[in-house]
């Protein structure tokens, strides 16, 4: 009951950002899928700017999932950072921590409610939108070239990169250091993790890197939150 009340409060606070992020991916994703549905359009576009170049129209066919990737990455990272700001920076700015923490509940449970909300809000809406787009793309006859299953897993892994940034920004929000000293180190770490992930060809390594990074930051987050002065 108590945990549920906290969870509902957190979800309500994150709701506008879920809608925005899901809307961005859904809109751009739908446009991209629809444009890739007709390779003739891409060919026309190419010929318009390269009138003297000869190219087979089928060479211009690309997977829509490839061009959605950057949008999904940026949205997941943006959502992660935004949620961390909403959950960990704003209560500090508006001095709401004392009201939130003085209740019949230990600090760990308050943090768990926040993190669980963050995880759900990042993975579920973006993941569902991604799954929906992929499902659309796999319908027979929808795209000229069928989508490989690997792209589906890659999309979900991109979404989890938002979690890494979420944890990094949350840690930065709890840090009492100045911004020009160590406050943003956790965000730099998250950025480094994204770089490390980008260089991997095997998806299993991507999973290992993301899970390890998240575990390290979660541990640090609990430590910081339980010991922090508010």
């Amino acid at each position: 009951m108590k945990f549920l009340a906290l969870l509902k409060k957190e979800l309500r606070e994150c709701l506008p950002w879920i809608a925005l992020a899901a809307g961005i991916v859904l809109t751009f994703g739908t446009i991209e899928f629809l444009s890739k549905r007709a390779p003739g359009a891409a060919y026309f576009h190419y010929r318009f700017f390269n009138p003297f170049s000869e190219v087979d129209r089928y060479m211009l066919i690309t997977y829509p999932t490839e061009s959605i990737g950057p949008i999904l990455t940026l949205t997941a990272i943006g959502l992660g950072i935004t949620l961390a700001i909403r959950q960990f920076w704003m209560p500090h700015y508006f001095k709401e921590w004392n009201y939130l923490l003085h209740r019949p509940m230990d600090r760990g449970t308050v943090l768990t409610a926040k993190l669980l909300t963050g995880f759900l809000v990042i993975t579920v809406p973006l993941g569902l939108v991604w799954t929906y787009l992929f499902w659309q793309g796999t319908r027979p006859g929808f795209l000229p070239v069928p989508l490989p299953a690997r792209h589906f897993v890659e999309g979900w892994l991109i979404v989890t990169q938002g979690l890494v940034f979420y944890l990094g920004a949350a840690l930065a929000g709890l840090s009492r250091a100045k911004w020009y000293t160590t406050k943003l180190v956790s965000l730099a770490f998250a950025l480094w993790i994204i770089g490390a992930v980008a260089g991997q060809r095997l998806l299993v390594w991507v999973v290992i890197i993301i899970v390890t990074a998240a575990a390290v930051m979660l541990y640090q987050l609990f430590n910081s939150f339980l010991k922090r002065e508010f």
């Binding site: 709401e96 004392n98 003085h102 209740r103």
Partner: protein
């Protein structure tokens, strides 16, 4: 049940190299309304945050309802109401939503009828959003939220800060009297001495992080005196009078601020110093507080026992 609701022992807090609270040792008995007074930046909020376990002490310890402040269990927090400084609540919620949110944490303890009555008493609408309320209205909602679970101990950090005189009076007289009737222990900090005088029965005076007085209000009112002496010649330079805090000389007049000095001792000194006349100066609590905390070298703790 212990008779001491709140107890600190050598509680000290440094922020970096800045001393915010210095060796605070106090005991607050059950059932009293304790005004915690001090100027802005004197350490009131730091002390309250230490008591509630939001800050870690540099040294010393504090106990609330018999439990160490650093390890307040959820069951114990359930018995402590808290009104934070500035009445920071969840801004996007309406009054009805925040009441529902708060009540979820106090199953079987939340008095919804009492909350509704208080909101009606303050002439607020339950549909109003917290972010659209004035500071005074937020204070009223804060108080209603803190009182509705019927806490044993209520800690309020400057609850009347930023309220206009009328709302302050309404806030204090209406609600604190209600609290008094129900026999709760209240600790409330303030720098508005009039508020404290109106409702408190015990006084904690803090100045520059040091607790300067911890006694019943009436005792403080009796003990801190200002006496004006008139001399036919310039007054003596050396004043050897027990309880002297500070003095002010003006040609042939001398004003002494004393604490705990018996009237007989004052009369004796006036005779021995050759004063032509002397009379006590009337002071309200604010004057007494200012005189008591003014002047150099006033860091020495004064023993309030036996005054």
């Amino acid at each position: 049940m212990t008779d001491t609701v709140l107890e600190t022992q050598g509680l000290t807090k440094y922020y970096g190299s800045t001393l915010a609270l210095d060796n605070m040792t106090v005991k607050i008995p059950r059932g009293c309304i304790c005004g915690f007074v001090g100027r802005n930046g004197s350490g009131k909020t730091t002390a309250i945050k230490l008591l509630l376990g939001f800050l870690n002490p540099t040294a010393g310890s504090s106990m609330l309802l018999g439990c160490d402040s650093q390890n307040l269990t959820p069951a114990l927090r359930q018995r402590i109401g808290y009104v934070s400084e500035g009445h920071r609540l969840i801004r996007w919620m309406t009054i009805a939503e925040i009441a529902k949110f708060q009540s979820a944490f106090f199953p079987g303890q939340w008095d919804g009828k009492f909350f509704r009555e208080m909101i009606e008493y303050f002439e607020l609408s339950k549909k109003q959003k917290i972010k659209h309320l004035s500071t005074g209205q937020r204070a009223q909602v804060s108080l209603a939220l803190a009182l509705a679970p019927n806490p044993e101990l209520l800690v309020m950090d400057d609850p009347t800060l930023g309220l206009d005189a009328a709302i302050r009076r309404q806030f204090l007289e209406g609600m604190i009297r209600l609290i008094m009737q129900q026999g709760r222990t209240i600790l409330f900090s303030s720098h508005i001495l009039g508020d404290v005088e109106r409702v408190a029965d015990r006084l904690l005076v803090i100045d520059k992080g040091v607790i300067r007085a911890d006694c019943p209000l009436e005792q403080f009112r009796r003990a801190v005196k200002k006496v004006k002496f008139v001399f036919s010649q310039p007054p003596p330079a050396n004043i050897n009078l027990e309880g002297l805090l500070h003095c002010k000389t003006n040609e042939k007049e001398l004003e002494l601020v004393l604490v705990g000095t018996a009237d007989e001792k004052i009369a004796e000194w006036a005779n021995s110093a050759g004063a032509k006349d002397y009379q006590p100066v009337n002071m309200n609590l604010e004057d007494q507080f200012i005189e008591y905390t003014a002047g150099p070298g006033q860091k020495k703790p004064f023993s309030w026992e036996g005054i």
